[in-house]
Every structure is written in C-alpha cells, then in structure tokens.
Amino acid sequence: MGGGRVRIGIIIFPGSNCDRDALYAVERIDAEPVELWHADADLKGSDAVIVPGGFSYGDYLRPGAIARFANVMAPLEDFARSGGPILGVCNGFQVLTEAHHLPGALLRNTDMRFVCRRVRVRVETAETPWTSQCESGEELTLPVAHNEGNYFADPETLEQIEAEDRVVLRYVENPNGSANDIAGVCNEGRNVVGIMPHPERVSDPVLGSDTGMRILRSVLVEARV
C-alpha cells in the first residue's frame, strides 16, 4: 500500500447519479476517490471499487442490463476474481447481478411504486470487507431509494446463500417484497457485496446520520491488509 491513502474507484456509467455522493463519502473516510469512466477498461490501481447507484443507461431494457457490457466491466471481473473488494449500491447491486458477480435479481417493488425511505436493516454477517467494522446482528438505519429492489432468487439459490451466510443485510421491515427480506448479499468469495440501501447518503451528522460510514470504513481496514 506504500502508506498512501486507500484508493477507492467509483465507476461512472452514463446515468449514474450517486457517483458524486460516493466520491464525497469516500473523501469523508479519508480515502482517495478515483473516478472510473465506463468507457475506459482501467481500474487505475484502485484498492477497492464502488459501483454506485443511479439509472445507468437510463435503465433501458432493465436496470443494469446494458451496463454489464461496458468496457470497465472486464477489468472489474479480473479484480473480483482476484479477491478485490467491490461494493454495488442500488443500481450498482443490479449491475453486479446482471454481470453474474452476485446471485439473484432485483425485480419491481411488489407495490409497483418507487420507494425512498430510511429503513432499518440488520447486519447478518461481519465477514465481508464492507461490513467488517459492524457487529453481526446489529441494526442500522439506512436510506433506500429504488423502483426495483425486490430481491429474487430461486429456492435452491436462496437456500445456498442462507446456508453459506451470504446474506449481508436483511430488512427489519421489508419495503419492497424481497425474498427472505434480503437487502444485500455477497459472492462466494465474500469480496463482492451488493446492497440496496445507500450508505453514502448517511455520511455526515448534519444529514441526521453518518451510519453509512460504518460500512464504508470497513473496507479501509480490509484494503490495507
């Protein structure tokens, strides 16, 4: 690491709209934010990568479906395979499921409405680079804002990820109809995490909460190892 700040790459797709918020939050944890343009197949030496929320490619076809073909996704795949910490938030979670880095899919919310609300979620596992500074079983209040946050996977997959302790966040009050109240999952290697809540939006006490920093700070510890 050379003693410098941890470099956290933030991918910017056309239509990403939480990229600037992620850049800000990364600054707040005293890491170095690195802008990663979708058209460039280059992670610029990032120690960790955030795939931010928004409406990549206008959510055309379905959320995340087009983003998975962006140039930046090839080095991201290598990074994932080599165990690099990746966090997909909201649309980023959708992108990571479309790219098969994560199991399952995100469907329309069951009440067919967009939902923007602060919700309580339970941290189900601290054994990911993005939750290592949380306690398993602790509850966090985090904002969600999505139209397609209804987590779906076939029964075998659900059984498997539950058995392997790969549910990262679980809703205390389910806002969207997600299977098993799942708000976030990780891959088999546990380095790739996708969550619907937006930690970067609760990154400052003046916003009423900086709970999200718990999640983002976790990766500092992990990336330095």
Partner: protein, 741 residues
C-alpha cells in the same frame, strides 16, 4: 383555408395579425406566422400579464439576476449563489399526465442549467379535483409517477412541494415544478448572444414533431378538443437530460461557451430569438443542419418543435470542436445549426434559401393588453356568508379525525416516498416539514425552500389571498430557521379576457407585491399560466410562491415534530386567539363543504415580526421545535407536531377553561389567521423563552408527553388513532370517500 382561418387556428387575433403586417411591412409566410404565433402566445409573450408583473419588486441586496433570464439568482455567501424558478405544465398534464409532469420537471431543470448552475433540488406544487372522481385519481397518480419517473432518474432530489384537492381543479389540474440550482457566483451565465460570426450549437436530443404549437396549446382553455391535442405533449427522456446536465456543466467549466439557453416552449424559435434580441444581434438557423428524429419535417416544424432535452449554445468558432467532442463523450447529439449575424433578424434557412426572416425584437415584443378592473359580483356573495350559523361540532374527536384524514391535510408520505429526496447527500430536513433544508458541502451554510399556494383564499379575497400566499411561504421558511431572501412565482389563473379572471390576476399580484415589499423578498423569476378553464369554469386563482431562504449555520434548524416529553408548547404571535376566523378555513371546507367568508387580511408587519423572532430563537439555539400555524388551525397543527415527533400532547387546564367558557370553541381550535407559530421548549427553558419573547403576544397552550392527544374533555385520542387516519394511502382505493364531500 382562408388567411383568417389560418392565423386564427394558430391562436392569433385579427388585431395581432394586423400588427404583424404593420411591423413587417409585408405579409408573413406560414413559417413566419408560426413564429409569431408561438412567441406571441401568453406562455411566451406575457401579453396579458406584463403590465401587471411590473408591480413586483425585483431588486435587493442579494439579487444577482432578476426577471428576464431563464431563472433568478440570489447570493448566499462565501461565493455561492442559488438560481431558481417555478414553471407550470398544467395543460400538458391535463391531457397526458405522466409525460406532462415529467417534461415539466425536465423543462425547469434546463432553465436552471442555462444559468450555469447545477440543479440540486426540485419541488412540486400540485392541485387536482377531489379524489372521489376516478379521472382525478388517475391524473394525481400519473402526475406523481411522472415527477418521480423523471426526477428520480435525472438524479435531482425532489425535496418538497404541496398538494391540494378542490373541485375547481377537476379537469384542469395545476402542475407547477420548481428547481433550485447551486453555483459559484462567478459562473453565472446569461443567454445573450454576442459576437458576429460565432456559431450556434444545438445540443442534446434529436428534433422530432413532438410539441408542435405546444406554447399555443398552453395558452388556450381546455376542452374536449384538448384530447385531440395530445400529440402536442412532448415525451421526456430523463437519461438524455442527465447527460445534458453533465455535458453543459463540463462545457461551462472548461469555458467553451459564450452563452447558453434552454429549449422550452416554442423550441429553437423562442431560444434563438430571445438570445438574439437580448444581444442586439441576428441569428441564422439552417434547418438542414438540425439532427432530426423523423423524416419529411417542414422547416417551420423544425424551428418550433418542442422536442425535449435540448440546449442552444453560442460558441466561438475555434471552440466548436471542443463542444462537439464533449457532447459525443456524453453520448449526446450535437450540431452547429447556425451563426450569429450582424443583422438583427431571426432568419431561417433551408436548402440554401431563406424561408423566413423576422426582426428578433418584434418576436420578443408581443402586444400588451391592459384591461379595466371590474370587481366581480361573486365576491360580495361569498364574503357576506354568515358564519354565525355554523354549528359547533357535536363530537370533537370525530371532527379532528375527519380533518386529519382529509386529503388536503393528511400526511404526504405516500407521495414523497415515491420521490428520491436524498440523492445528492445534501438534504438536511427531509420532506414532511414546513419547508426543505439543504446544506452546501464544505461550508456551514444551508438553504431552505418551499412552495405555497392558497387558491381558496385567493378566490374569496384575491388581494388578501395574494398577500397571505407570500406570508405563508415566509413563515414556512422562518420556522425552519431560514432567512427568506427572494421568491419566484407561478401565476395560475383563468382567462384574462374575462373580467373576473383579469380582476383576480391583477388583485392577487397587487397583494403579492405588497407582501413581497413588506417582507423584503423580491420576485426574481416567474411564470404565468392563464386560461386554466374548462367548460365548468375557471380554477381558483392560484398564484404559487416558491420562496428560498438562507441559514448561516445549517445545523441550527428547527422542525415541527415534538422532540421530548415535558416540553412547554406556546402559540406565538397573533392577536388574541379568538380573532382567528373560520372564513375560508379548512374546517369550513372539510366539515361543512363551504368555501365562503372573508378570511382575515394578512397583517404584514406582524408576519415579519413573528417570523423574525421565531428565526432568531432557532438560530440562537433556544428553539428546535417550531411549526407554522396555518391550515386546519391550532388543533390540526398541534396534532401534526405530535404525530411528526411520535410524542403526545395535553392542553393546559386554564386554557381548557377559557375555551369551554366561550361560544367560540370551534373557532379557537380550528380557526385560521396569519402571523402565528407553535413552538416547544423544555420546561427548564421556559424563563429563557419568556425573555426572548419580549413584548410578543403569546399563549402557553399545553405540554408534550405520553401517547395521547388531549384537549380537556373535548378531544382524547391515542396517537395511534390519529396516525391511522393521518397516514392514509392517498393512492389507495377511494375508501376515503367517507371523509370527502
């Protein structure tokens, strides 16, 4: 079609056609006539409202840009400025609610972008007919979906707004969108075209046939025929808009533009002629160079198309490549479509020939109509309504529940949860309070914003209502702790060609102007939407005020919800409580189905004094709980504070005695008047509060705590009972029918 039929179909009168002949000294061709038609529509030309609008004060120490540009701009401090404006999209939303509302949001965002500001917040002021009619439910549902569908995707948080239901809006909903943009003061750009030989670049989406004659459509009353004008409504693409925002901000940052203008009503025509007229130059547009979405478009269609997500920029020739390259990086279509010329005409060229040429100043100079003010007779009738006949409620529990369940007073949660109100990570006070508060990153500064309209009040007393609308916005910002600095407005009225409509317009403007002067909140931008009429008549005269305020320390703000048990709750300001009135009140409307009486005229000096005091108490850290005492009166306002905080409330015993021993119990609990607030402080700070109040009249009404809402023997309800009716789903089945007249 005869000549007369042609220009009449384009919305021009005989008088206006003669004026065109006089100005040009020749007969216009069809393209030229189309240009006049759109530029002289009320929407673009303000021909009925311009003399009245001069009444508004529009300068002040913080004003960097007043009316006349795409948006007003005020200085915040530390080099920051805010651009803001509100605009209507009423007619498009009436015939195609999803796209009408969505493109309304898109349009106002581009107005802010054109000033060089990053759009950072949206608010929406909405009015519909009662929800027991299927058509109104449909319009309401789709407008909210359209606002969310566009705003959420484009990444600008929708942080506030208002919704009201009344039968006068059936078939003619009001959909007003406000946008606020944040910028450095030195980045302010204007839309003036300069520099002969500079190039005109069109950026954004391709041009299609959508929205041809949309501005003319918006300046006509709604009828069954309007359905057939559905194709006049444009279709929005928030993804393209998001790219356009990022692209334009990059171009401005790299200093590649001379000037910038959005394309809204009347498309290229409006933008180019305004840019030319302001700069005293000419602009030549070659329609062959405009990237088109469909084939076979006539030159006149190209120049008046209202295709969305487009901007027009003036660029120095050696910077054109940089502009086009940046557009490509953002996946946008762009093209050099014209040039700035030494003459002062808007000249349209096609196939190497000039197909139309008109002095830009003539297009920007619509004829002005001034009319006589005649007081409509309905005013005497409604104002003389005898309020003494209104019976007292038999059951105050039931009455309060009925009030809180009404769509005009119940929680807006099921609306604002469909809007992303937190993207940007700047929203300090979330929707549901009297106003929204945002911070400016890297500073202690914050700003607050609100939209307010009082249609029923303006209908009953246009001048008083106009003033009360401004005062309400002033109070809403003040009770969050913000210092109001300026306002924008959207004037939604019926036909100015009718005496009643013109009188309402003129009188509301007069009342608003008086209040703006007295409160020190100049009008820096605005929009006029006239002809809001259906066969059933005009809407209530509904000027909507969008006001912006500043917080020197954003962490020092208040919100309405009770914070602690044991707080003392005080009504602050106003004369003795029994001066409040049921005239024009929510109580009279909701419980008795009456829109009548003459509401108290706003006392502007008292409005300023009480608001300024509440703000001082918040900024000094004494008060963190404050609420404007407005619609629904004291009982409703107290219940709102209890519900927002999840903490109960109980009236003081001596207050109960006072209320019970008078005939005006209902007036005290549900009556309305301006210049009043509710504040709560911990009991141990009661002495500090009294000291801070000075000579301000106040009334200690009760204390917080528990899980009940109690007013002596009159009201005794669990908070959960209140919450059940208050938190109703506004989009649910019309089960609310039992509480709606």
């Amino acid at each position: 079609m005869s000549l007369q039929e042609t220009y009449t179909a384009l919305g021009l009168s005989d008088f206006e056609y003669d004026r065109i002949l006089e100005l040009l000294g020749r007969a216009p061709n069809y393209l030229e006539l189309s240009l006049f038609s759109v530029m002289w529509s009320e929407h673009c030309g303000y021909k009925n409202s311009r003399p009245l609008l001069r009444r508004f004060p529009n300068s002040g120490p913080r004003v960097l840009q007043g009316p006349g540009e795409n948006a007003g701009v005020v200085e915040v401090g530390e080099g920051w400025a805010l651009a803001f404006k509100v605009e209507s999209h009423n007619h498009p939303s009436a015939v195609e609610p999803y796209e009408g509302a969505a493109t309304g949001v898109g349009g106002i965002i581009r107005d802010i972008l054109a000033m060089g500001a990053r759009p950072v917040a949206l608010l929406d002021s909405l009015r519909f007919g009662p929800l027991d009619e299927e058509q109104n439910r449909y319009l309401f549902r789709e407008v909210v979906r359209g606002i969310g569908g566009y705003g959420n995707a484009v990444g600008v948080p929708t942080v506030g707004g208002e919704v009201e239901f009344a039968s006068s809006y059936s078939g003619n909903p009001l959909v007003n969108a406000m946008c606020i943009g944040l910028m450095r003061t030195e980045d302010l750009v204007r839309s003036r075209a300069t520099g002969e030989g500079n190039l005109v670049v069109l950026l954004g989406s391709k041009t299609g046939r959508d929205g041809i004659h949309g501005a003319t459509f918006a300046s006509d009353k709604l009828s069954e025929e309007s359905e057939s004008k559905r194709s006049n409504v444009q279709v929005g693409d928030p993804f393209a808009e998001k790219m356009l925002i990022e692209c334009c901000l990059t171009l401005l940052e790299e200093d590649l533009l001379v000037s910038l203008q959005d394309l809204g009503a009347a498309g290229i025509t409006s933008s180019a002629s305004e840019m030319a007229a302001k700069g005293g130059v000419g602009i030549e547009i070659e329609t062959d160079r405009v990237p088109l979405r469909e084939s076979g478009m006539e030159p006149y269609e190209v120049v008046i198309s209202e295709s969305q997500e487009r901007m027009l920029a003036v660029v120095e020739p050696d910077k054109a490549k940089g502009v086009l390259d940046a557009a490509e990086r953002y996946g946008l279509v762009s093209a050099v479509v014209g040039r700035v010329a030494g003459h002062s005409e808007l000249r349209v060229q096609s196939g190497g020939e000039t197909v139309g040429s008109i002095p830009a100043e003539h297009l920007a100079d619509a004829p002005v109509y001034e009319r006589d003010l005649v007081r409509p007779s309905y005013l005497d009738e409604v104002q003389e309504f005898d309020l003494t006949d209104i019976p007292q409620p038999e059951d105050y529990n039931e009455t309060l529940l009925r009030m809180l369940a009404h769509p005009n007073l119940c929680s807006r949660r099921t609306i604002f949860e469909q809007y992303d109100h937190q993207v940007g990570a700047d929203t300090v006070v979330l929707p549901g309070a009297d106003a929204a508060v945002m911070r400016i990153k890297g500073t202690k500064l914050g700003y607050a914003m609100t939209t307010d309209g009082r249609g029923r009040h303006c209908f009953l007393d246009p001048r008083g209502g106009g003033g009360a609308t401004v005062a309400e916005a002033y109070r809403n910002l003040s009770c969050l702790g913000a210092k109001p600095v300026a306002l924008t407005n959207c004037l939604n009225f019926g036909s100015p060609e009718k005496q009643e409509g013109y009188y309402q317009l003129a009188e509301c403007i007069e009342g608003m102007a008086e209040a703006s002067e007295a409160l020190g909140t100049p009008v820096v931008s605005g929009n006029v939407s006239l002809y809001n009429e259906t066969e059933a008549g005009a809407v209530y005269p509904t000027p909507v005020v969008g006001m912006v305020g500043i917080l020197e320390d954003v962490s020092r703000h208040a919100s309405p919800g009770f914070k602690r048990g044991g707080d003392v709750v005080v009504v602050l300001g106003g004369a003795p409580a029994d001066r409040s009135s049921l005239a024009g009140s929510d109580y009279l409307y909701i419980v008795h189905g009456e829109v009548a009486g003459r509401p108290p005229r706003p006392n502007l000096a008292a409005e300023k004094e009480t608001s300024d005091l509440v703000r001082d108490m918040i900024q000094s850290g004494l008060v963190d709980t404050a609420h404007d005492l407005s619609g629904g009166g004291k009982a409703v306002a107290l219940a709102e504070m209890a519900l927002a905080g999840g903490i109960g409330f109980e009236y003081e015993d001596y207050e109960i005695a006072r209320i019970i021993n008078t005939k005006s119990t209902v007036k005290i609990l549900f009556g309305e008047q301006g210049a009043r607030f509710l504040v709560a402080v911990p009991a141990e700070r009661w002495d500090d509060l009294q000291n801070a109040l000075g000579g301000m009249p106040y009334n200690r009404v009760g204390s917080t705590g528990g899980d009940r809402f109690k007013i002596g023997d009159l009201v005794h309800l669990k908070l959960s009972e209140l919450r059940k009716v208050y938190e109703r789903d506004l989009f649910g089945a019309p089960g609310g029918a039992e509480v709606i007249h």
